[in-house]
Each structure stands twice: as structure tokens, then as C-alpha cells.
């Protein structure tokens, strides 16, 4: 078990190394360089001076090694455009993204599991058909469009919820205000996650319910509820947890777009803006942070298998 965790951690480090390499070389292969160099207020000498100061004149591998050495010492560099340390930017933004992403993922798990089970038990019922239809809509709808439509309905027409930001600017902290600002972005992401998760719970549950041990459990006279929740659900959760792991990069993408629509000050918005201005250190820092989260969650889901199914040995 411990050796398994260590091996997976090493693999994770390797993956992160690849991520950093790909991102770094891609972004530095750009013709033109960071946006601040194209500012009309700078003359040629000043541009050359800035380039020299930022170390942009060295060869890309040299720059990579220097950047990596700093990263390993916990120094992610300084933003080109705001001159704030990248770690400060990330520390400000990451909790907001985790709040938004975590809350909607949590809610979608809580909602989708019972729905998936109900759908699996009563296959082809009205509920099942309705949920199938909803799932197709959920995976087909453009996130940003859904967000805009929600804004149109709840902010423009009904005036009940704010159309963006994390809190009302200029007002003192109030929990109600915070929650109101959370509702629309969370619902947007919820619809997205719910569609996928309900479908997977449903099909995993259908698979498990066809197994022999379920028939045995029923044959010995156990109540239907006990069979489903104690015997079937636990095994059905294994593929569902895998999907949550695989699904994560998708969820990150969804969160990035949602943040942009609602002007939610998270990692996604940070990365979108940084990519736009070619703020190299910020882009690299944000991408690496998200990659760390993804790798770590994948490891966590693998470890959860062992907890859920003692037959799976991790070694």
C-alpha cells in the first residue's frame, strides 16, 4: 500500500514535469513575446532592457531550467502586468475557484447519486426518460450560453440575483449577499456536472443490479432498500468515482468559462486574462497549480477504490 502510494506520487511528479515542459515551451515559442513589450510608450532600447531584465534573451532551455529551479524553491515569479508575485495572485484566486468548483461538485454528487439510482431501478419510466433527456441537454449546452440565459432570466427579467462578481462592490461583508452571488455560477456548473454524473451512476447501478450477489441478497429475503443501498451502491460507486477523477479537467474548463461569464475572481479568469496578455509567469503558475490539483485528485480516487472495494489490492 505505502509503496503503491509512493510509486503513484513519483508518477504524478513525472506527469507534472511533462505538463511544465509542454506549457513552458509552448508559451515561449510564441512570436512577439509578452504584451507589455508591445506597449507604444516604450522605445526600442527600453524594450531590449526589459527583455534583458526578464531573462527573455536566453535560450528557452536555459530559461526553463532557471524557472524550474525557482519553482522548486517555491518561487513562481512575478506577474509581468501587475508586478505582484504569482504566488500571491494564486493565493487570492485559488480559494474562490475551490469554493465555486467544490461546492458545485459536492452538490452534483449529492443530487446525481439518488437520481441515478432511481433511474436505474425504474428503467424506461417517465423519470428515467426525463433524466436521460436532461443529461443529453446538459452535455450539449455551451456553458457560457447557459450562464447568459440564467443571467437573462434571473438578473435581467426577474431582478432576483446579481449577474456577476463575488459580492456587491462597496457594501460591507454579508453572508446573504455572498450566497446570492454564488447561486447562478454554482447552478451553471451544477447542470454541467449533474448530466454526466447521473448518467454514470445510472449505468454503473444497472450493471451491479444484474450481478449474482444481488440476486442472492434478494433471494435471502432482504428488503429492497437494504439490497440497493448496502449491497449495490457501494460497488456501483467505483466507476462513478473514476469518472469524477477523469471528469476533473472538464470541470476545470467549465469553471474557467463560468468564471469569465460571471466575472468571478478565480483561477480561470486569471488564466484567461493572463493568456490574453501573455503574462508568462501567471499562465505557467495557474496551469501548474491546476495540474497539481488534477494529479492529486486522480491519486485520491485511486486510493478510494481500495476503501470501497476490498477486492482491489493496491500494489
Amino acid at each position: 500500500m505505502i509503496s503503491y502510494v509512493i510509486r503513484r506520487l513519483l508518477q504524478g511528479v513525472l506527469v507534472l514535469f511533462i505538463v511544465s515542459l509542454v506549457t513552458f515551451f509552448l508559451i515561449h515559442a510564441a512570436p512577439g513575446g509578452p504584451a507589455l513589450l508591445t506597449s507604444p510608450e516604450l522605445n526600442r532600447d527600453e524594450v531590449a532592457q526589459i527583455k534583458e531584465n526578464l531573462g527573455l534573451n536566453d535560450s528557452i532551455p536555459v530559461q526553463y531550467v532557471r524557472w524550474m529551479r525557482n519553482v522548486l524553491q517555491g518561487n513562481l515569479g512575478t506577474s509581468y502586468s501587475t508586478l505582484t508575485p504569482v504566488s500571491t495572485l494564486l493565493r487570492d484566486r485559488l480559494p474562490n475557484t475551490l469554493l465555486l468548483g467544490g461546492l458545485s461538485l459536492l452538490l452534483s454528487v449529492i443530487v446525481s447519486i439518488p437520481l441515478g439510482i432511481a433511474s436505474a431501478i425504474r428503467r424506461n419510466s417517465v423519470l428515467d426518460r426525463a433524466l436521460t433527456g436532461f443529461a443529453f441537454l446538459g452535455v450539449s449546452v455551451p456553458v457560457f450560453w447557459l450562464a447568459i440565459i440564467l443571467i437573462i432570466i434571473f438578473s435581467v427579467e426577474l431582478h432576483v440575483l446579481p449577474s456577476g462578481n463575488m459580492f456587491t462592490v462597496g457594501e460591507s461583508f454579508s453572508l446573504v449577499d455572498r450566497i446570492k452571488h454564488l447561486v447562478l455560477p454554482v447552478v451553471t456548473l451544477l447542470v454541467l456536472n449533474l448530466a454526466t454524473l447521473t448518467r454514470y451512476t445510472r449505468s454503473a447501478m444497472i450493471d451491479v443490479l444484474g450481478q449474482d450477489y444481488i440476486r442472492t441478497a434478494r433471494a435471502k429475503g432482504l428488503e429492497s432498500r437494504t439490497v440497493i443501498y448496502r449491497h449495490a451502491l457501494r460497488n456501483a460507486m467505483i466507476p462513478v468515482i473514476t469518472i469524477i477523477g477523469v471528469f476533473l479537467p472538464n470541470a476545470v474548463a467549465g469553471a474557467a468559462i463560468t468564471e469569465t461569464v460571471f466575472a468571478w475572481p478565480g483561477m480561470g479568469l486569471l488564466a484567461v486574462n493572463a493568456a490574453d496578455t501573455r503574462d508568462y509567469p501567471v499562465v505557467l503558475g495557474a496551469t501548474l497549480t491546476v495540474a497539481v490539483i488534477v494529479v492529486f485528485s486522480n491519486l485520491l480516487t485511486d486510493l478510494l477504490y481500495g476503501v470501497l472495494d476490498p477486492r482491489i489490492r493496491l500494489d
Binding site: 513525472l14 509552448l26 450539449s140 450560453w145 468559462i257 499562465v283 495540474a291 488534477v294
Partner: protein, 298 residues
Amino acid sequence: MATEATQWEATITKERTSRSWKSLAWRQFRSNRVAVISAIFLIAMYLVAIFATAIAPYNPNEVDISATNARPSARHLLGTDEDGRDVLSRVIVGSRVSMTVGLIAMAIAVAIGSLIGGVSGYFSGIPDSILMRFTDGMMAIPYFFLVLIVVAVFGSSFQNIVIVIGVSTWMGVARLVRAEVIRFRDQDFVLAARSIGVPNVRILIRHIMPHALSSIIVAATLGVAGAILLESALSYLGLGIRPPTSDWGAMLSNSQAYVFADPLMAVYPGICILLTVLAYNFIGDALRDALDPQLLRG
């Protein structure tokens, strides 16, 4: 020697291919009404895209400042945008980019994915380890960030967007193809082909890959849906193909600024994306049922 091998190979291949499963699969697909409607819808949409300039009632880029943000009327069926451009014409012409990006990007993803997955599954060992770690690494990169970076860095021409979406979404196909190749590479017909001296590359392409084809088709269909969504998201973020070439994502991005003044503007392009992607998803799902080998055996 080589010709002899080819002859034998032809014999083996002929015995394996039966025409019946194709007709079975086709019958199964046809019985799915939603999928058939989706297919007809998509064909119609592609026809619209091909003949867009002929169908559009106005020039999509023609500015008319006397009629900005007009409500739908007999003159402008879907109204006009902030520059007085006809929304219906823009939606019709905008279909061109949105409808083709997905197809081409997916073709690229399938090509890369099949190559990497095929080599990885067939040769196993060290090439497999290297290729699969690389695939894992690519999967751990939040692909959306990757696409974002590439487009921001290299610019957002049609060509760049198609390539970057293809290059960042092949991993699923690679894993799928690898699993299928591993499933078949030790079977008797592969052994037979190898024993008569068919070269490895040919075995892989001619004898193993056809078995992976149905899964690839399903993944590709669903992948087109994903690629269309991704392209529209990029356009929405302002990283799509530059104006005045309109596409649905860019129209939406534009509409958000006028969401209070003219909310309807946001509705139409979104519905177009939704219906197109939905149709692809329905077809992919129906193909999965129709091409299911378990079903075909029965």
C-alpha cells in the same frame, strides 16, 4: 513470398468479413427515431452552411445604423444587432465556422489518437510505457488551459484553432484504440497473419484496426460535439476566429454586452450550438448501440 502472403491474407480477410453485421447495425440505427431526425437535421445544417451566402437574406456584415438592436420583424426575422446587422444572416453564415471546426479537429484527434494508441497497444513494452505516460501527462494538463495558451500565443486563425483542438483532445481516442488493439493482438487471426509473414504495420492497419473502428466512430462522433463546444467557448472568450467572420460563439460574446438592452440576441446562436451538439450526441449514442459487438454477435 510476398505475393503468396498477400494471397493467404486475402483468404483470411474474406472469411472474417461478413456483410450481415453492417446491415444489422444499419437496421438498428434506423430504428432509433431521435438519431435519424438528428442525422437529417445535421445534413440540413451542412447544406445551409455550404449555401450560406445564397440563403442569407442580407449581407451578414452590412451595417445599418438606422436600425440597431431591432426586434424581430418581417424585414429582419430575428432582428438586428448593435450595428444593425441582420441576425438571421449572421447566424446562417456563422454556421460555416462552427460546423466545420468540429469535423476537422476531430479528424486530427482521431488520426493522432489511433497512431499513438495503435503503436502503444501493439508493441507494448517500452514504447507503450513512454507513450502512455505521455498520454497521462497530456490528460493531466487541463486541456482548456492548453488550448487557451496556444491560441493566445499563436493567434486564432481557423487553421490554428482546428489544430490545437485536435492536438489537445486525442488522448481519449488513444486510450480507446490501445485497449482494443490489446484485446485483439494475441488472437488467432493475428497469429495466422503473422505466421504467413505479414509485416507488423500491415497487421496493425489491415487486421486489427478494423476491429477498433466501431469504437473509434462512436468516440469521433461524440468528439465532434465536444470540439464544437470548445470552439464556441474560445470564440466566446474572444480567442476565436477574428471578426468580421462571424461564428456562433463570437455572436454570443458580442451579445453579452447588450444582455440588458437586447436579451434575444443571445438566444439564437446559442440554440444553434445546442441543437447541433445535441444532434451529434444523439447520433453518437445511437451508433454506440448499433455498433455494439455484443449485439452484433446475437
